[in-house]
Symmetry: C2
Subunit: 319 residues, 2 copies
């Protein structure tokens, strides 16, 4: 199947990854609809995107939306990782159960394929430093958010086994880039850039030596588009850069890029939800789909800073 | 800590494993209370057992029961594996959510340790024939029941990490022995023996070449008692015989034991929920707790047949 002309539904299309994915799918010639909450910035959604306002808990609306789609992208999350640990049961009710009902709705509605955005940063849990994690590594999440994502993967595996259900899972690394919410703790890059551009202190949680795998959102969206029509024998893939950076190095790169002094950096206490080291090995998706990260780190950082500046300039001038 | 005098609560104390565990704990000198549904056979529960009639969904009652216990045994299950696949969401609501709330109640109530009876037969999913599965093997359940058990394990791991919560997980193989419900499809041994003794045909699902790890319930109960006070560095263990038997061999052993002809065996269609091969490697619990299976297969079968005969004789005479 070609992505051009394919009917695609993006659940969570108004979020950071969703907006970027909708744009990438439209650019690839797909017929795209989004479902979820619209972003605050209405201009983020392209005008040729069909849109369903809807909630993840509204099973009837989701069942109707997925009917007859060639590809459904499931990007609807629950809480963010740190919050999920305060109320794990709420996360099961608000995210795991609706995900399971979504899978059942896709099966009943004849959806061609379900592509699930899992979390490469949380499903594995603590790993040895220096290791590039492969898909067969142990999975011991230290957040309820990660357990939730892992359970959805297991249900997709179950439905594949029992019903021949067509599902692809992408365990996505830490994405950064345009449309990332700086104020919702979605990621270090967006938060650091936004604080820096606003003239505010840049926070680092803990000693800043936590290592993460940062991937530009264009590369994530490209992997998801490709996964929509992939026809090989695998079904679960890491999507990462394969390179580790400390939070401190990221913040220092942001300061260097903007010509800021390092005393703008302030340290906050560490959190038990942060695994010390998380870098994904993306070899499998490379072999199977020919995907590889294409956006250079420095170039991605420059482009993201430019996008943030233009957006805030646009806001000031009312554009 | 010694098990003698320890305050123990067995959630699901009226089930097959629960009855046997309550008896073993009492025999070891523990102060034991049971919680759940009473067994049909009231004489199964020892008279010196305290009992709480209660439902798994009754969170307040469970929270009250677990308060101040040294060891809480969580044996409450949801549906049986085959049924769980018909309604996975019902399994999440009826079993995973109450398990999670139970963990939270134990943490809040100061429970000393939670011992969870997981399922060695379902959490791993399909494995290569001939392999004795170790605890670090991949976990790809082909039943919602198995996903559920696996998710509870992950939440216990999370609470260990976040809160230093004391939990031990036992992935139990296929238990057989006294108090197994022959009519509730709880296991091949009990069902085959009961049908044989009642003069009924003995059913085999599929070709009978499915291999399982059968363990006498006395050995399972002994492992759970020991796990209550184990103080080593591990927390998740297989509990199995380490030996595989085909369903056909089990049924033939039953026929041979009772002097029945093989034409009493009838074949039924196979089921997608049956993994072809499942044999657990019990080396870790052997090394860590000095536990080993002690009941010989033939001896266990003879004893179970004797128990079934005596029980049905007792019923006929009204004893």
């Amino acid at each position: 199947m070609s992505i051009a002309g394919a009917r695609c539904l993006v659940l969570g299309g108004g979020g950071f990854l969703g907006i970027n994915l909708c744009r990438a799918l439209l650019a690839a010639g797909a017929e795209v609809a989004g479902y979820g909450r619209r972003p605050h910035d209405r201009s983020a959604l392209p005008s040729d995107l069909r849109w369903y306002d809807g909630d993840f808990a509204d099973h009837a609306a989701i069942a109707q939306a997925v009917g007859g789609q060639d590809i459904v992208y499931h990007l609807l999350g629950g809480s963010v990782p740190a919050q999920s640990n305060a109320e794990p049961a709420a996360d099961v009710v608000g995210s795991l159960l609706p995900s399971l009902r979504l899978i059942e709705a896709c099966r009943a509605g004849g959806t061609g394929r379900l592509v699930f955005a899992s979390s490469g940063g949380t499903v594995y849990g603590p790993t040895l430093p220096g290791i590039r994690i492969t898909e067969d590594a142990p999975t011991n999440p230290i957040t309820a958010y990660g357990i939730n994502k892992l359970a959805v993967e297991k249900y997709l595996g179950l439905f594949r086994h029992l019903h021949g259900f067509d599902a692809v899972v992408l365990r996505v690394a830490n994405p950064y880039g345009p449309f990332q919410h700086a104020r919702r703790a979605q990621g270090v890059v967006g938060t650091a850039l936004a604080h820096a551009l606003a003239g505010e202190p840049i926070e680092i949680w803990g000693d800043g030596l936590v290592v993460r795998d940062y991937l530009h959102i264009d590369d994530v969206a490209a992997a998801m588009v490709t996964a929509g029509t992939y026809d090989g024998g695998q079904w679960l893939f890491n999507v990462g850069s394969g390179q580790g950076r400390t939070v401190r190095a990221v913040v220092e790169d942001v300061c260097a890029l903007l010509g800021l002094p390092r005393d703008r950096i302030v340290h906050r206490p560490g959190r038990a939800v942060d695994v010390p080291y998380n870098v994904l090995n993306p070899d499998l998706i490379g072999r199977e789909m020919g995907w590889a990260p294409s956006v250079d780190w420095q170039a991605g950082l420059v482009a993201t800073a430019r996008w943030l500046r233009e957006r805030s300039a646009g806001r000031r001038t009312g554009a």
